[in-house]
């Protein structure tokens, strides 16, 4: 006997993500899910961001990694509101892990929660964590072909960061191809080019974050 069904596989994750979203919104916390390759500069950008917005925005960070607490140790130099999640080999964060992380934070004291996903351009994309926006991050040394290879990340993102632009003169990277490929997938996706090392472009990123943090908690 065949039983026809229409059920999303992984709805358990979505249900927990919905609970996260309810809790975050009740506490007035805006949440972004930062996704990019290993080594694209997510942690350094967060460190610079926390420094720049110190005293202005209260930012919590949940950082996901396969192993080690190195990212959390770096973040902890800039904020006490940091939780490290080790996935033990898991290639992405799931909503239940973020739920545990949220439980360790004093949500009402935060304006913004940044979830630094496991460095990976593929697996994190399909897992809702309860965020208000997904932010994609590519770095210049990865090459200009990242948009063409990762359309699903771009289709879900509300913002794309191109990091390490200070390396543009030193590595082969065709910006025109990068932008043309991006325009073929999401002509409306805002892109911010920046370097956390030199500070280039950080002003626009901080302005975006301020506007995002002030946005409606729906």
């Amino acid at each position: 006997m065949k039983i026809p069904l229409v059920e999303k596989v992984g709805k358990q994750n979505d249900e927990i993500a919905a609970l996260n979203r309810v809790d975050l919104r009740a506490a007035g916390v805006r949440c972004l899910n930062l996704m990019g390759s290993p080594g694209c500069g997510k942690t350094l950008l967060l460190e610079k961001t926390l420094e720049a917005l110190r005293g202005e925005l209260s930012i919590g960070v949940i950082t996901g990694d396969l192993t080690t607490t190195r990212d959390a140790e770096r973040i902890a130099r800039h904020t006490k509101a940091v939780v490290q999640i080790n996935t033990g080999g898991g290639c992405h964060l799931e909503a239940h892990q973020v739920r545990q992380g949220i439980g360790k934070l004093d949500l009402p004291s935060l304006d913004l929660l940044v979830i630094e996903n496991v460095g990976n351009l593929i697996c994190p994309v399909g897992f809702d964590l309860g965020q208000d926006v997904k932010v994609g991050m590519f770095s210049v040394p990865e090459g200009e072909d990242k948009p063409a290879k990762h359309p699903q990340l771009l289709l879900q993102a509300g913002l794309l960061l191109l990091s390490k632009v200070d390396l543009m003169p030193h590595v082969p990277f065709r910006l025109d191809v990068f932008l043309a490929d991006l325009a073929a997938i999401r002509g409306d996706l805002p892109v911010l080019a920046l370097s956390a090392t030199t500070g280039q472009g950080l002003g626009a990123w901080l302005a975006w974050l301020r506007a995002f943090a002030a946005g409606p908690a729906i």
Binding site: M1, K2, I3, P4, L5, V6, E7, K8, V9, G10, K11, Q12, N13, G90, C91, H92, E94, I122, C123, G126, F127, P147, A148, K149, P151, Q152, L155, D181, A183, A184, I185, R186, G187, D188
Partner: protein, 118 residues
């Protein structure tokens, strides 16, 4: 390699639909064209995760769902063959809203229910 997460969730969801005393024969899922999931890995993991359980022995059929989008600029619906080239054939811009071709859906199960089982 997020196939493990997907298949773990799938097995749990399938279990809820299999009637008591019935034998699960097969499971069919639809995988969107945008998903980076390997069919062989999905099938192997399904075998592995059902082994030694009442669901053991059931096959997993994987069907690919083509991408279908609606242009947010002009409303035209189209089915782009290449997920990295999403220009609207009517107005030429790429502002796609995904209608189909994303995510994984459990679309049917086949079970053998013993006669007089009520």
């Amino acid at each position: 390699m997020h196939e493990m997460s997907i298949v773990s969730a799938l097995v749990e969801q399938v279990r809820a639909f299999v009637p008591v005393d019935a034998t699960l024969l097969s499971v069919r899922i639809e995988v969107g064209a945008l998903e980076h999931l390997d069919d062989d890995v999905l099938r192997s993991l399904f075998g592995l995760l059902t082994e030694g359980t009442p669901l053991a022995g059931a096959g997993l059929a994987v069907e690919r769902v083509p991408l279908r989008v609606r242009c947010a600029a002009c409303g035209t619906e189209h089915a782009p063959p290449d997920p990295a080239a999403l220009f609207c054939p009517s107005c030429g811009v790429a502002r796609p809203e995904i209608l189909a071709g994303s995510g994984v859906t459990l679309s049917s199960i086949e079970v053998d229910v013993p006669e007089g089982g009520e």
